[in-house]
Every structure is written in structure tokens, then in C-alpha cells.
């Protein structure tokens, strides 16, 4: 009989610190699945960022380097260039990747660095308590947009998967969600593909994952999941924006 | 004994080239050397200066306020620097381009040579710097003429090695101005 739900070997058997209903844990699992799938756990070096996912090394049973806030793509560049035989991935939130680290992600993509970049878009700064992020939706309330994001003052949410896809150095750029079994399945496939791109030396692969932050959205897990479907996906369309063969 | 020389001109006159040459010649003779360049605002066309030290002893400062020898190749550099030299300093002036005028100093060991014309006579205006450094070396004897010539191989880019004989001729011509007394 096929086991449908077992813990991937790359994932440690520990309880996570994530809030109830947070989808970071689920995304971790999909990343671990991908490592297991390709049998690369022992070759992988993860690069952690600063945000709720900072404890990457507590959950993944792999070697890890911790990067300063926003700089994971630069650190990963150093790692991958120094150890091209390794499998390298970054894992960043939206404040980390699309605000303070915009420059590093754009240029790593543009150089076509051969690593896998995971981008968790939850439309807020989770770890610091729910401030407005570059991905916060128009009208969305946050600690620093109490009346809701006013695009006239705060600008527009950034669609990073499209931005990254527009760069010639990018080999693969996709946006997925993990709010339904169907979407989880597609997300798992996309993450595997992004690892496959790296393992086949095809260049920079980017996966944006829409995720929930029930805590800072002020919702329960179910409502947060619903919001991904009704508010986020209409703005951040799911799809593949670049797929170099 | 430490020899210092301040070389100055405008970019393109080859000041930095002969500074390097002199320093390399010092190395070939087993001496300590320093070469310190400084440019004007623009690298080409602006002022180009360098200071070279050659010594049997350890070299302290690579720059000195009052130099004891100088090669001055154009008017602007002359106007700006002539007052700096130590009394008694050897000073080669390119009389093709320099009018000493009111700044003229009688307390220096001045040698005046029409370097532009001399270089043209040798067949290439660019040889002016080599004539100058030959004259300087013959006079101050910080390095031998042989070392200077030997250093050409080290500082000229490979593709210009075919011009070495001509450069040697220029160095000799400069030295002859001193040696003929």
C-alpha cells in the first residue's frame, strides 16, 4: 500500500514554532519532499533569511547558513559559486525578498545563479508583528497601514514572480499557492521542478508561494485560507511566467 | 645614500614611464626603490607627476617636500613646482616648452635642453622622456646607464620591445649632454 503521508527524511521530527494555521510548515514540507525526491538531502545547503522562517535549520536536517535580512540570494551566490557541486536553496519572506532584499534577488536572478529561490508571500511582515509589506494588498489593514494600504501613498503590491520572470537570467519563475489539495499538489510539483532546474544546471529557478499569516491577518486558519483564494489569488495570479527549456 | 627625484609634466609626455624605468633600474642594481605617482584631475592631458627614490638604505617617505633632483617637462609644471626644490638641486628643464621668466632660480644646478627638438631629430617626438632620464642618470648617478637600459625590457610592454634600440639611443643622447661636460 502506498503511504500517503509520511514525514520526509529531510525534515526533522520536531514541533515547529509556527502559529496555528500558518502555511510556512506546509511549504517546508514540500521543500523537504523535493530534496527527498531527488535524493539530495546530503548535498544540500540551505540559506535561511530573517523572518518567521529564520529557524530553517531547526526543521530541515541539512547544512544551513543564516543570511542577514534580505541578503540570502547574495549569500547563496557565494555558497553555490564556492561549492557548485552542492544543491543550494534560499527561503525568504516578502519583507526580506521584496523590500530590503530587492536588489540581491534581482541581481542573483539576472546573473542566472544556479540555485533555487523560494519566496513565501503572506502579504505582511510576519515576524515583526504585521507591518505593511511590499506585497500587502490595496486596502489591506496592517500595523503600519491602519486605514488600509493606500496605493497613492504606499504604492502597489509587487508581483515578484512576474518581475523575476522578466529577467533574462531567470530560467524558471512560477507562482503557486497551498490553500487547497489541488494547489498543494501543483505547488509540490513546481518546487520539485525548481530543484530539477538547478540539478540540471539550467539556472535560476524562482517559486513564489502564496501563504497565510492568520496571526497578523487577525483571522482563524480557515478564514485565512479562504482569504488566499478570494483576495490574494485574484491579485497574484497563479501560473508559470517563465520556463526555459 | 638616498637619491630622490621629482618628475613632472603633462599626461602623454611619458613622465610616469621614466619614473617606472628609473625605479626598475634601481631594483636591477639591488637597491631599494619607491615610485609614487600622482595625477592631475584627468589622467590624460592633465598634470602627471611622480617621485622616485633609489637608496642603499631603507626608504622612509616616498614623497618629500623639497626634492634634490627634478625633471620638468612643461611650463605649467615649472610654474607650479620650481620653488620647491632644495638649493643646489639638479634640475633638468625642457627649454622647448619652458620660459623661466621671473621664477628663475640661480641656486639650482640647472640643465636646459630643447627636449622636443632633440627627440624629433632622433625621429620620434615621444623619445623626449628617455633623453631626459638619460641626462638625469648621467648627472645624479642614482643608477647606471646600463641598468636603465636593462630596465627597458621590464617596463615596456612586449609589443614595444622592438623600439628598445631607439630608446637606448635616446638615453645615450641625454647622457652625452652631461658627459661632454
Amino acid at each position: 500500500m502506498k503511504t500517503v503521508f509520511s514525514r520526509p527524511a529531510s525534515l526533522k521530527d520536531v514541533a515547529t514554532h509556527f502559529c496555528p494555521g500558518c502555511q510556512h510548515g506546509l511549504i517546508h514540507r514540500l521543500v523537504a519532499d523535493a530534496m527527498d525526491h531527488f535524493g539530495v538531502q546530503q548535498q544540500t545547503i540551505g540559506v535561511a533569511s530573517v523572518g518567521c522562517s529564520v529557524f530553517l535549520y531547526e526543521y530541515f536536517d541539512i547544512d544551513v547558513v543564516e543570511a542577514p535580512h534580505g541578503r540570502a540570494p547574495a549569500v547563496a551566490t557565494g555558497v553555490k559559486r564556492a561549492r557548485p557541486e552542492s544543491c543550494v536553496f534560499t527561503y525568504q519572506g516578502d519583507g526580506d525578498l521584496a523590500a530590503i532584499g530587492t536588489s540581491e534577488i534581482i541581481h542573483a536572478a539576472n546573473r542566472g545563479e544556479n540555485f533555487t529561490a523560494l519566496f513565501v508571500n503572506n502579504t505582511t511582515y510576519g515576524m515583526t508583528g504585521g507591518q505593511m509589506a511590499p506585497t500587502t494588498l490595496p486596502g489591506q489593514r496592517s500595523l503600519t497601514s491602519p486605514e488600509g494600504r493606500d496605493v497613492a501613498l504606499d504604492g502597489y503590491p509587487m508581483r515578484m514572480a512576474e518581475v523575476i520572470a522578466a529577467l533574462d537570467g531567470t530560467a524558471y519563475s512560477v507562482r503557486v499557492a497551498v490553500n487547497s489539495p489541488k494547489n498543494i499538489l501543483a505547488a509540490g510539483k513546481a518546487i520539485k521542478k525548481a530543484f530539477e532546474y538547478q540539478l540540471e544546471n539550467k539556472g535560476f529557478a524562482f517559486v513564489e508561494v502564496l501563504s497565510s499569516c492568520p496571526t497578523n491577518w487577525g483571522m482563524d486558519a480557515l478564514a485565512a485560507n479562504e482569504r488566499v483564494e478570494t483576495e490574494m489569488i485574484p491579485y497574484f495570479n497563479l501560473g508559470t511566467f517563465k520556463e526555459r527549456s | 645614500m638616498t637619491h630622490d627625484v621629482f618628475m613632472t609634466g603633462f599626461g602623454g609626455q611619458g613622465v610616469l614611464m621614466i619614473g617606472n624605468l628609473l625605479a626598475y633600474a634601481g631594483i636591477l642594481e639591488g637597491k631599494n626603490v619607491s615610485y609614487y605617482p600622482s595625477y592631475g584631475v584627468e589622467k590624460r592631458g592633465g598634470a602627471a607627476n611622480c617621485m622616485v627614490m633609489v637608496s642603499d638604505a631603507e626608504i622612509g617617505s616616498p614623497v618629500i617636500g623639497a626634492p634634490s633632483a627634478g625633471i620638468i617637462l612643461n611650463q605649467a609644471s615649472y610654474d607650479l613646482n620650481i620653488a620647491r626644490f632644495k638649493p643646489g638641486a639638479f634640475c633638468l628643464l625642457n627649454s622647448s616648452l619652458i620660459d623661466e621668466g621671473a621664477l628663475k632660480r640661480d641656486d639650482l644646478a640647472t640643465v636646459r635642453l630643447p627636449l622636443n627638438e632633440m627627440a624629433l631629430e632622433l625621429g620620434d617626438a615621444r623619445l623626449l622622456n628617455m633623453i631626459a632620464v638619460g641626462c638625469y642618470a648621467a648627472s645624479c648617478q642614482s643608477v647606471s646607464l646600463d641598468a636603465l637600459k636593462g630596465a627597458l625590457k621590464k617596463v615596456l610592454p612586449e609589443r614595444n620591445h622592438r623600439f628598445i634600440p631607439l630608446n637606448i639611443q635616446a638615453i645615450d643622447l641625454g647622457a652625452a649632454q652631461i658627459n661632454k661636460g
Binding site: V64, A82, C87 | -
Partner: protein
């Protein structure tokens, strides 16, 4: 002995790094250090190493962090404004116990300043410009040969003490050419293996984690004391300085890097004039050669500190000398093209000589 070559200081740094086995360079253009990346880009290509002109100094220090975390000798170089941008990364490297070389060919400031030789980054280097309380090795070459030798030493010390090393110089030593002798280098056999470097787990069952985050009860405090102990060991074992004419000195002239070079000639002038003047130059700025200053001021009670700034190292000199010694200061923060001359410093020596306690 290898044949001596005429080499510029900046190039000597690059040659030293390659000799020390550094094969990973990350930088961003800024004057007056651009000869270093130019040389490295050509040479590393031939050697199959990594050269990246990054999008910023922030990115380049973090690339260095990554390559160093993998256990390789790696470096970046920049000049003052760029070094400011690297401070966050340097703090992370220090916190993560990572070695690595950061070269600062210091220019004048504050702000955009100018490209003249300056020593105004002493505080930033020695007292550390980043957050959190850490130490870095700081060396201050005063000759082209030292640009080469101290680059190599920096890599060795940095690996041994697991802390970043800064090489602090300026355009005087950077652009000056002198005779350079390439000494053959072998890795010190007692350097500890980098058993902390990430490689992918490979055959291991344990993880290697390079991080600066310690949130367990008391963990970060322990971590801080561990870093402190290492810095103390460094202070104990690695102070380096150059002294001359100290035995009978009635006045000691001190300074580091290019200012010391100029001062040395002024000291020779004083000796020729029959004055009993000594010379003491820190080679390592961290650890500061406290012992040498303490020793020298047992008998000599008067010092003159010369810097291309309004006075920074002079504070450490005052902390290191005997309590009854007096330290005068002469500073020349850079203005366009005007370095102090040896004659000018000799005049300062004359002014202070014999006037002390």
C-alpha cells in the same frame, strides 16, 4: 629568494591573496582600490576561481560570507563609503565566527569626501563599525612588501581565530610601487581544520549550521564570552609593531601605515641633526601593540602621534603608554593632494623635542 619586481601596493594585496590560496573575490567598483578587482578578475579567471562584480558592497560582503561559510579563503575589497555598507555583513560574519579578508583602501570623508589618502577609518575598523560588540583583526601595511605579507598573515590569523580580518591602507601605499619579493607560502600546519564549514551533510549525520542567532537561555551570553576569549588570545599572542631607535629615545614618533612612512624620514632627519628621536609603528591595529608602547615608555616619556585624520589612533596610544608619558598629536586630515611632507613632520619633532615631562 625570488626576483624582486616593481609592483604597486594594491596589486601586491591581490598577489598576496592569490598566494594565500584565496580563489573567491567579490567586489563593487570604487576608487582608489579598482586595481585590485581588475587584477583579480583576470587572474581568477585563469585559475578557475570566482570573481563577481556584485550589485553593491552589501551584496559582495554577503557573497564573501557565503563562500567563507563553505570553508574557502575569500575576500572583498573596497574603500571607505563601500566599507560602511559592508558593516552589517561584517557583524554577521563575526557573529557566525567566519574568517575572511576585507580590504579598505581608505579615502577621505565623511560622506562622499574625496579619494585622497586618509586614515580616518581607524575608529570604524578598530572599534568596529557594525553592531553587537565584536572584534576583527586589523592590519596596517606601510610598504608594498607589507601589503603582500600582511594580506597573507590576515588570512592565516583570520582562519586561526575565526574572525574577519581587515586590511587598512590608503592610496599612498596602494598606488606606490616598490620592490616586491614573492616569498613562497605554505599553509601553517597547525591551522585547525574547518570542521564547521557547510558542505552538504555528505557522509555526516550531524548538521553544520553557520549562524549568529542564539536564542536559548544564556546561549548568546556564552557565545559573546567565547568571542571575547578569542579576542583576548589574539591580543596576547599577535601584537605586532616596528620599532627603531627606541633605546635612547627622548621623543618617540608614532603613526601607522602611510603616515608612519612619512614620519620615518622625519625621524631620520632628526637623528642626523643629533636629536635622540625614536620610532614606533603599530603593524597590527587590532590587536593594538600595547606591550610595545608600555615598554617603550618606561624610559621615554614623550610621544608624538601623527595621523592623516583629526586624531583617532592617538586615543589607543594614550591608553597604552606609561601613565606619566605625554602624547602630543599632529593631524592632517586630507585635503586635495596635500600629504604632509617629512620636512613638515620634522618641524613638529623640533617643536616637541625636549619639552616633555
Amino acid at each position: 629568494m625570488s626576483e624582486r619586481q616593481l609592483v604597486a601596493g594594491n596589486i601586491a594585496v591581490a598577489m598576496g591573496a592569490l598566494a594565500a590560496g584565496c580563489r573567491h573575490y567579490f567586489g563593487y567598483p570604487i576608487t582608489p582600490q579598482s586595481d585590485i578587482p581588475a587584477y583579480m578578475s583576470a587572474e581568477l579567471r585563469k585559475l578557475g576561481g570566482t570573481f563577481i562584480q556584485a550589485e553593491s558592497e552589501i551584496a559582495s560582503i554577503n557573497m564573501l560570507l557565503g563562500a567563507s561559510a563553505c570553508g574557502f579563503r575569500a575576500m572583498t575589497s573596497s574603500s571607505s563609503p563601500g566599507i560602511s555598507l559592508k558593516q552589517e555583513g561584517i557583524s554577521y560574519m563575526a557573529g557566525s565566527e567566519l574568517p575572511g579578508l576585507i580590504v579598505n583602501i581608505c579615502r577621505s570623508g565623511p560622506g562622499l569626501g574625496g579619494i585622497d589618502a586618509s586614515q580616518a577609518d581607524y575608529f570604524q575598523s578598530v572599534k568596529t563599525g557594525g553592531h553587537g560588540g565584536y572584534r576583527t583583526i586589523v592590519v596596517a601595511p606601510a610598504s608594498v612588501q607589507e601589503m603582500y605579507d600582511l594580506t597573507i598573515l590576515s588570512f592565516d590569523l583570520s582562519d586561526r581565530y575565526r574572525m574577519p580580518a581587515l586590511l587598512l591602507a590608503d592610496s599612498l601605499v596602494g598606488q606606490m610601487k616598490e620592490a616586491l619579493e614573492l616569498k613562497p607560502y605554505t599553509l601553517p600546519s597547525d591551522l585547525p581544520a574547518k570542521e564547521w564549514a557547510v558542505t552538504g551533510k555528505l557522509w555526516r549525520s550531524d548538521q553544520r549550521i553557520v549562524k549568529s542567532l542564539y536564542l536559548g537561555e544564556g546561549e548568546l551570553e556564552q557565545h559573546n564570552w567565547k568571542l571575547w576569549r578569542r579576542a583576548e588570545e589574539l591580543k596576547e599572542k599577535e601584537q605586532r609593531s616596528e620599532g627603531k631607535y627606541l633605546d635612547d629615545a627622548k621623543l618617540i614618533v608614532t603613526g601607522f601605515g602611510s603616515a608612519a612612512r612619512i614620519a620615518k624620514t622625519a625621524v631620520e632627519m632628526a637623528r642626523e641633526a643629533g636629536m635622540q628621536v625614536g620610532f614606533l609603528r603599530p603593524i597590527t591595529l587590532f590587536p593594538f601593540p600595547e606591550k610595545a608602547f608600555a615598554e617603550a615608555t618606561v624610559s621615554c616619556k614623550q610621544l608624538l602621534c601623527v595621523e592623516l585624520s583629526t586624531g583617532q589612533m592617538v586615543e589607543d596610544v594614550r591608553l597604552s603608554v606609561a601613565r606619566d608619558a605625554e602624547v602630543a598629536f599632529y593631524g592632517r586630515p586630507p585635503g586635495t593632494g596635500s600629504l604632509p611632507t617629512p620636512e613638515e613632520l620634522f618641524a613638529q619633532i623640533q617643536k616637541h623635542y625636549g619639552k616633555g615631562a
